[in-house]
Amino acid sequence: MNTRQLALKIRKHAVLMTNRGKSSHVASVLSMADILAVLYGQVLQKRPKEPSWSERDRFILSKGHAGAGVYAALAETSYFPVDWLQCHCGQGSRLCGHVSHLGIPGVELSTGSLGHGLSVGAGMAYAAKVDQKNFRVFVLLSDGECDEGSNWEAILFAAHHRLANLIAIVDYNKIQSLGPVSETLALEPFAAKWQSFGWQVKEVDGHDHGQLAASLDIQSEIGSAPTCVIAHTVKGKGVSFMENTVLWHYRSPQGEEFEAALTELEDQIIA
């Protein structure tokens, strides 16, 4: 399976899971599906049958509300059976809406409240540095999440300690919980902010797998600055009527909308 096929599978799972679970955040998963696919399909050093392998790259989903995407990526890369995805947010389900590590192989950190992942990732990266281990730590944040002040504490910390093995990725789809980022709490000039805090910044098309792989699959020189990849994305990417709307941050795909979303994804045949 190539990364584009994996991305499509993640998108289909997201629609199916949020339909069955009558749950929210489908557009948040669609937005980051390509990032996850490039990470799990190509970039991350991993051993799905040995999820605690000490040399593995660590991945933290800090925007925990899009947990369905991580579950789908883990299932499709053999961490656990794809069948597990059948029951998401249901009564007694293994999988809850915001990503949780308990009983789920491959989940490094449970999140759900925003602004937690980058600090924990920085701690892991610091440990790797002092223990002279080569693994990398990837943390995926949402743009709205960058409103949380705790992230900026972590951004200061990672730059100060030159955590070259830490890569923050921002899923910059420009829409947050109640409206456009620019009208809620403007982040721009966003790249300049990270740069001024001492990070290396790369801006990429967050749906272009070539650009994503080139920016993410890096092994920075020890002692150099941490890296931030600002991935410009489209919220709801891949399902036309979900794209660039606040509504699908919350709405669960049901009935005709569910059928239409699935049909649209089924039509995206990838070689």
Binding site: T111, V120, G123, S150, A154
Partner: protein, 317 residues
Amino acid sequence: MRDTFVQALMDIARQDQRVMLLTGDLGFGVLTPFAEAFPNQYLNVGVAEQNMTGVATGLALEGKIVFTYSIGNFPTLRCLEQIRNDVCYHNANVKIVCIGGGFCYGPLGISHHATEDLAIMRVLPHMKVMAPGDLAETRLITRLSYANPGPCYLRLGRGGEAMIHQNDLKSPLGRAIPLVPKGDVALLSTGGILGNAVEAREMLERRGISVSLYSLPFLQPLDAELIQDLAQTSRLMVTIEEHSIIGGLGGAVAEVLAEQPGLKAPLIRIGLREGFSCEVGDQEFLRKIYGLSPEAIVQRVQDFLNLGKREVKIYGL
């Protein structure tokens, strides 16, 4: 207590390189010996407690045993959600150290009074809560927090606490420490107020009242067996803490008693009863103001016994 803690931690860090000490830019002079002896195990993360707690979690998930250090409410309330979601939910090996439980930083004002911390830490799943009564207990809980994996909260005094126990302690986690094991009235104390409890007991004895005294450095796990036993064998139980009477030692003991019908002894909780501790003064002054001086403790006990029943004046309410 803070110097004793640092010394005890240095003894541990010397043996185990996994031990790390993180500070939120506090501990001037106090942490210098540790920082100089173990530069690779020490990290000042700056004035950023949320990040400190998250970083501590990340380090712990990579195998470190991490102590986070700050004063008053900063290492707890400022970063409570990081403690709950990151440290506790992942059962991460993070030990949260508060210097200045209660009124230690008296004149600095309510921002620096840690008077709800025990209640808030005690309710968190997986969290072990420890408040030593003297320097020997400080050494004990430092060792036990290191030896027991998972989250711990260590609530310490600032300095100048008495040496009450004459010898090093070997108590296991969760066990109360008897100072005087027999008496009609049972005094149960947690944290640095123990010295006042000792004095209060002596004053009561001089008035002809037989009093037992226990220090409870562990609020979680709590020595419920002892509490049930004392409730059967004592005439009155009294909890003493430099903390709100809600949710701390008094609350914890009340919870045990409430689930055991038919117990004999009534309970009075001595601590901060309501509102903020907004009077200005040093620790001793504030203890007097808020009814925690030895004399005030004696008075509460005496009043209750004189009435001879539960219809006692409800203080401060």
